[in-house]
């Protein structure tokens, strides 16, 4: 039942954008039809995934479309269902949001394209999540990669977008290439490309198992955007339309996490270094991601870097679970994997919320530059509230959902530290180091989001353009996501049982403790409600004490008589101290003209934090390769007689060989 529902949802989603292609570019009917189809598909898909989570397990179905075509094994198990839910929820929210954000009437050239590929992307994500063998998985993976490419390059007339698109295209195919190697090796070691753990997979020898793990880490890590394989991510997320960025950041990069979680379950009991490596990768990604985010001036690039940070937190949880499997510690497995999977949900929700709010704000302000916005909370109060909700959630602050998953990861790490085993022994050596890194990442995320929220929504406007509050579809999409964030934050004990089954299936262990038994979810919930009640009470009391009108004053200007909005602290100045503390990592480019003399001329100041990995490693290496390949051009000079000579020589060699 659940597989049929999800299957229908996938077909419906794939077709959702097709009718619009036969309708006029000028009419809104096609887009409305696409939204209705995609929302219907999403509801069916979520229903199917929900049934799979609630009901008994169903057998997988083998599909063979044509004779001679490899067969595809499809099935919805608990892990698939956990990833399917956010995919369909975000697809529905993104398409509804698109009604107001990317309306067909205003985007005649590319409106239908966005609709078509958004549906295809959703379908591909669904397909790869229900695939239980490598062929179906890679098919879904490639459709996902290509659909996302056409979405990223929606505004292909801009050179910047084209560059981001090509970078994305090259890296996603590098990723597929590594996955081909992965599945080939899997086929060689087990005789099949099944993604489910079975007897053949449990008997893989250590050497190929380690090679499979490394291939999976590189291939899936490239898609997930772990440092240093994240170089494609910021520009791709920044260039796509905002609802597409929400889909990409919220669920598409999570497919890397999904693949790695599947692989880890597939392989036999991991050696300790695997968990350690995942912990190290997670800590580095989280730290570097948020550090670069603080240096950004582009609102969407900044959010994209935060995806890297959150992927890092997810990897920390996964690494802890792997360490738990190596050390036979069930509580580390439950807390680590539970934290990682719940953070997959949470990040999908709050990051999509942030991207949607940012998109609406960018449309209202007419710029993506944080330093040119300001005071938008006055004209777009509901959008500002949505962004605030997302910001509090992503910083992991109570009472919203980010806290719950981070708390699970923290608890697992503390359990590893306090476990009594010597800390110099393998699976937990990094745990005491990772805890302060995670704490620092939390503090840095707070810095970053206070900066963004303050510079964009608070204070006085730095621009002339007057923004209007977002339209209803945008507000509805954001409200749904904000409600999900609040519900998970306030009622975590109702959500946690959904994850127990998938964790048990992953761990290969019998009698696993439940997530709700290990984590104080009831206390978090009670504390959250108390916090909300006390804050509301305090606000009510304070609002009653507000002046009843009469006194109209501006901000205290410390005695200066003519302050202007341009004198406000900008986002760049807010982050300046941090950026200069971490200049050894961020390598900021600063262009400043010194002012001297009694009557200095006008001066200018520019600062920019480019991606160090892309600019200092990837591009130079690629340029070096291109240089090294230059000699090849002598072979191919474009002269026909030379080519005839090649043909002749080849023929001669072949004849001689024979």
């Amino acid at each position: 039942m659940s597989l049929s529902l999800v299957g229908i949802a996938i077909v419906l989603a794939a077709c959702s954008g097709v009718p619009a292609l036969f309708l006029s570019r000028r009419s809104a009917a096609g887009q409305r039809l696409a939204v209705v189809l995609l929302v219907t598909a999403s509801v069916l898909g979520m229903l199917g995934a929900g049934l799979a989570l609630a009901g008994p397990a169903e057998p997988a179905v083998v599909v063979r479309a044509l004779a001679g075509v490899p067969q595809l094994t499809l099935g919805v198990d608990l892990l698939s269902a956990l990833f399917l839910l956010p995919v369909f929820l975000l697809a529905a929210c993104a398409s509804v949001y698109g009604l107001a954000y990317w309306p067909q009437q205003q985007h005649r050239a590319d409106g239908r394209r966005v609709g078509l590929f958004l549906g295809l992307l959703t379908a591909a994500l669904g397909l790869l999540l229900i695939a239980q063998d490598g062929i179906a998985f890679l098919f879904g993976w490639e459709v996902m990669a290509l659909a996302a490419f056409f979405l990223v390059t929606t505004e292909e007339r801009e050179a910047e977008v084209r560059a981001a698109g090509w970078l994305y295209f090259a890296s996603t195919h590098l990723c597929t290439l590594v996955l081909f190697a992965f599945f080939a090796l899997l086929q060689a070691s087990t005789g099949a490309v099944s993604l489910l753990p079975d007897a053949a997979a449990a008997a893989i020898a250590p050497a190929p198992a380690n090679a499979l793990f490394v291939l999976a880490l590189v291939g899936f890590g490239l898609k997930a955007g772990i440092v240093p394989l994240h170089f494609w991510l910021p520009s791709a997320h920044a260039s796509a339309p905002s609802h597409v960025s929400a889909m990409m950041s919220g669920v598409m990069i999570k497919m890397g996490v999904y693949g790695l979680v599947r692989t880890c379950a597939l392989l036999p009991a991991p050696p300790p270094w695997q968990g350690q490596l995942l912990l190290a990768v997670g800590a580095v990604s989280a730290f570097v991601g948020v550090a670069f985010a603080i240096g950004q001036h582009d609102l969407k690039r900044l959010l994209a870097y935060h995806s890297i940070e959150n992927i890092g937190i997810i990897f920390l949880g996964l690494g802890l679970a792997m360490a738990g499997r190596s050390a036979q510690r069930l509580d580390w497995i439950v807390l680590g994997l539970g934290g990682a999977l719940l953070h997959v949900w949470n990040h999908a929700l709050f990051k999509a919320l942030l991207f949607l709010a940012a998109g609406a704000t960018i449309q209202g302000a007419g710029t993506r530059a944080i330093d040119q916005m300001g005071g938008i909370a006055r004209t777009m109060p509901l959008t500002a509230a949505a962004f605030l909700c997302g910001a509090v959630a992503i910083c992991g602050l109570p009472p919203l959902n980010g806290l719950v998953s981070e708390l699970l990861v923290y608890l697992g790490l503390f359990a590893a530290v306090g476990s009594g085993t010597g800390l110099l022994l393998a699976p937990v050596t990094l745990a005491p180091l990772v805890v302060p890194v995670l704490a620092m990442v939390g503090g840095m995320a707070l810095l970053c989001f206070v900066k963004v929220f303050g510079a964009v929504y608070l204070g006085q406007p730095r621009h002339q353009r007057t923004a209007r509050e977002s339209e209803a579809p945008i507000l509805i999409a954001m409200a749904v996501l904000a409600c999900c964030c609040t519900v998970i934050g306030l009622l975590p004990m109702r959500i946690a049982p959904l994850f127990d089954g998938a964790i048990a299936a992953w761990s290969h262990a019998a009698a696993l403790p439940l997530l709700g038994e290990l984590a104080p979810l009831g206390a978090v919930s009670a504390l959250g409600f108390a916090l909300v009640a006390m804050v509301l009470g305090g606000l009510w009391w304070l609002r009653r004490r507000r002046p009843a009108g009469g006194v109209v004053v501006g901000t205290w200007d410390c005695g200066y008589i003519a302050p202007t909005p341009a004198m406000q602290y900008t986002a760049s100045s807010f982050g300046q101290q941090f950026v200069s503390l971490l200049r050894w990592l961020l390598l900021p480019l600063v262009k400043a003209k010194h002012r001297d003399g009694l009557f200095p001329a006008a001066a200018a100041f520019h600062s920019h934090v480019p991606d160090v990995v892309l600019d200092r490693a990837v591009l130079p290496v690629l340029r070096g390769c291109a240089q090294a390949c230059l000699w090849l051009k002598h072979l191919q000079g474009g002269r026909v007689n030379l080519y005839l000579l090649y043909v002749f020589l080849t023929l001669l060699v072949l004849l001689l060989l024979k």
Partner: protein, 305 residues
């Protein structure tokens, strides 16, 4: 959570005593300067006066402006309820409550800083930027201390780490407690914006951190901020005191007396530090915070075996 006379005492202490700490600090500083100084109860008088006053609210601000004082006070109060006082388990205790403690203070900081940015004043923005930059540097010291304490006690809650009588008092654990104490004392000074990080009595907006962030708040809102800051000082102070006194006296009532005396001594110590030290230059503050983190990191290193 068992409600007893001791829980009631804890609630009363957290609600009533925090402003007294600031009175003691100021009295100590006055004694060092050879002045009479304001009365020990001055902050109570100030709070009473502020509650009766009206408010002036800038036209630039939004609803976020009033959330700053409310959220910072509420979070400080809830966080203070998580800290065990004088070897009595805290009112609210559960595994992982130390993470909630840190994140509650962070939530308060989020809204205090947002409220500062809401005014659009460059000075308040300056203070806000410094507050969050220094706070992220102080986090590792706090959490490394938690790591070491979790390692020593095998417990995952503040009450288990600090209120249960330790059976451990062996050399390594004692050594690392001393290091945690030193590291956390620095964190206490930094988080509460005391000298050498920030001068609560300075008169130049350019050099301030906390005081400049709240320049535009007035009346009851400002009262909430002052009270919230005192509660935060109390909460972190109680944490430091609990590390300093790892072993209880055995008698529950005597424990209360010892705890109150220790808090008083802590306030006097802060007053002495403020009297004999100058404020650090802003650029050297990160170095001191990193040193505090390293001290607590050594506390963890002691416990590796």
């Amino acid at each position: 959570m068992t409600l007893s006379i001791h829980s009631l005492i804890q609630v009363l202490l957290v609600l009533l005593l925090p402003p007294l700490l600031l009175g003691v600090i100021n009295k100590t500083k006055a004694a060092f300067a050879g002045r009479n100084g304001p009365p020990v109860l001055q902050l109570y008088y100030d709070l009473g006066k502020l509650l009766r006053k009206g408010m002036v609210i800038s036209t630039t601000t939004t609803a976020v402006f009033l959330m700053g004082p409310v959220v910072s006070l509420v979070t400080a109060l809830v966080a203070a309820m998580l800290v065990p006082l004088g070897h009595h388990p805290a009112l609210i205790a559960f595994p992982g409550d130390m993470i909630l403690f840190a994140y509650l203070l962070a939530l308060g900081r989020f809204f205090t800083v947002s409220a500062a940015l809401d005014t659009g004043s460059p000075f308040e923005g300056m203070g806000a930027a410094r507050e969050v930059t220094f706070a992220f540097l102080a986090e590792p010291a706090l959490f490394l201390g938690f790591v070491a304490l979790a390692r020593i006690s095998g417990s995952l809650s503040l009450s288990g780490m600090l209120a249960a009588d330790p059976q451990f008092v062996h050399g390594a654990a004692l050594g690392s407690m001393v290091l945690i104490l030193a590291g956390w004392f620095v964190v206490l000074l930094a988080e509460n914006c005391r000298i050498p990080f920030d001068d609560p009595n300075t008169h130049l907006e350019l050099t301030m951190i906390h005081e400049v962030m709240v320049l535009d708040h007035s009346g009851p809102a400002f009262g909430m901020i002052l009270y919230g800051a005192a509660v935060k000082l109390w909460a972190l102070g109680a944490l430091v005191v609990a590390v300093a006194l790892p072993v209880g006296s055995g008698s529950q009532w005597l424990d209360w007396l010892v705890f109150l005396a220790a808090m008083l001594a802590l306030a006097i110590l802060i007053g002495i530090v403020e009297s004999i030290m100058a404020r650090l230059r802003l650029v050297s503050i990160p170095r001191l915070l990193v040193s505090a983190s390293l001290l607590t990191a050594f506390a963890v290193v002691f416990l590796l075996g």
